[in-house]
């Protein structure tokens, strides 16, 4: 009986000069079957899309310098550069309004309102140290059109499906984009133990072997 198996695939460090779909084809094509789902780390997708900048390239505004002071130290927006990078994508006043609302919500005991209102990039940005060398001195944005990237992977490699995922060692997994028919929550559950490893840039691809078979059997069992 087929079982789910997670197979991390090691690659060279991918850069903005690479195409993520070409890279998956180069390193993993022979190991991908029609029942498999290919998942790829979101930060590496973003890097191959050239969605990164550095503190030296940013000029933080007065608002960014003040607002970053209200973000807890571990957050990627706690530096004025992380905050400015998010503002460049989501808009300065949107971020400002989200922060005001977030502060009020916090006073009322509700957390997370800032990130809900500030836009996708506010939650996805990785500040300096968020990725491996040579991008450890960069701020990396979230990927563009993750579902489109997933569809492209499926189309090119003939797998059952594909996903772009944000997973870390703190048991937090979010699937940002999937091919039609896949359940992002189910995939997040499968990837929760971070099979990409701590240094996800070295193993940015994880093949979920036998996914289609296992899910079909589980559904058949559920239906009685």
């Amino acid at each position: 009986m087929a079982e789910l198996e997670l197979v991390p695939v090691r690659t060279r460090i991918l850069t903005p000069d690479d195409n993520i779909v070409d890279a998956i084809a180069e390193y993993a094509k022979n190991n991908i079957g029609p029942n498999d789902v290919v998942s790829v780390a979101e930060s590496v997708v973003a890097i191959t899309q050239g969605r990164l900048t550095s503190p030296e390239e940013l000029k933080p505004s007065f608002l960014a310098k003040v607002m970053c002071r209200f973000v807890p130290q571990k957050g990627s927006l706690s530096s004025c550069y992380g905050m400015q990078a998010a503002m460049n994508f989501e808009g300065e006043w949107r971020m400002f309004f989200a922060m005001i609302m977030g502060l009020f919500a916090k006073l009322l005991g509700k957390n997370g309102v800032f990130y809900e209102m500030a836009g996708e990039q506010a939650a996805l940005i990785d500040d300096v140290t968020g990725t491996m060398p040579p991008f450890d001195k960069h701020i990396v944005y979230g990927p563009k059109d993750p579902s489109g990237v997933a569809e492209e992977i499926k189309h090119r490699l003939g797998c059952y499906g594909a996903a772009v995922a944000d997973v870390n060692d703190l048991k937090r997994a979010a699937v940002l984009g999937v091919t039609t028919g896949l359940d992002p929550k189910r995939l997040a559950q499968i990837l929760i133990d971070n099979p990409f490893g701590n240094a996800s840039q070295k193993t940015p691809i994880v093949i979920i072997k036998n996914y289609a078979e296992v899910e079909a059997k589980a559904q058949a069992k559920a239906l009685g």
Binding site: E56, K65, R69, S79, C80, Y81, V128, T129, D136
Partner: protein, 177 residues
Amino acid sequence: MDFLMALIVLAVILVGAVWLYIVRQGDAEFEFLVNQRTDFSLVELTDSKATFSCKVSFVNKGTQDGTIMDAYTRHLLPYEQCDAVEVSSRLELEAAPRTDGYFEALIVPKTTGETVNVTVILTAKNGTITEALKQMVDMPIDIVYQIVARGEWYISKNRMVMRAKEIAQATDRRSAV
């Protein structure tokens, strides 16, 4: 009019409160403790080359976590002062040694620190290194580091001096062994 005045007063109080919050929050503040470094020891000696190493601790003595984006050594030995050796130097984290001279950006929580190993390689331009080292002089070495924390990034440096006497003693110790 009273309403307008109340609004202005409220705005002033709000700005004052935010300013006070930021001032009280403070920022990261880094220092490489060059005055507390270990003596240079001779790590390797060949006919033409001598490699020395010492340890230097650093600390974030500020009130916020900070990131060392980059750190490197800058040795200062102009040929006008000593033309006997060529110098190369590097530093690496003691906890994560690497020999490529690349410093991986590192978050340093407030009031904590780590240690770097500073390596200096002296290569004789002519003849043997033992002979060349007799002409060696005191050599300043800056540890240069780029910091980013709550405020804007900046580059700072702390200077130590690799003493000629220290080099001679380290070489003599090795010769004696």
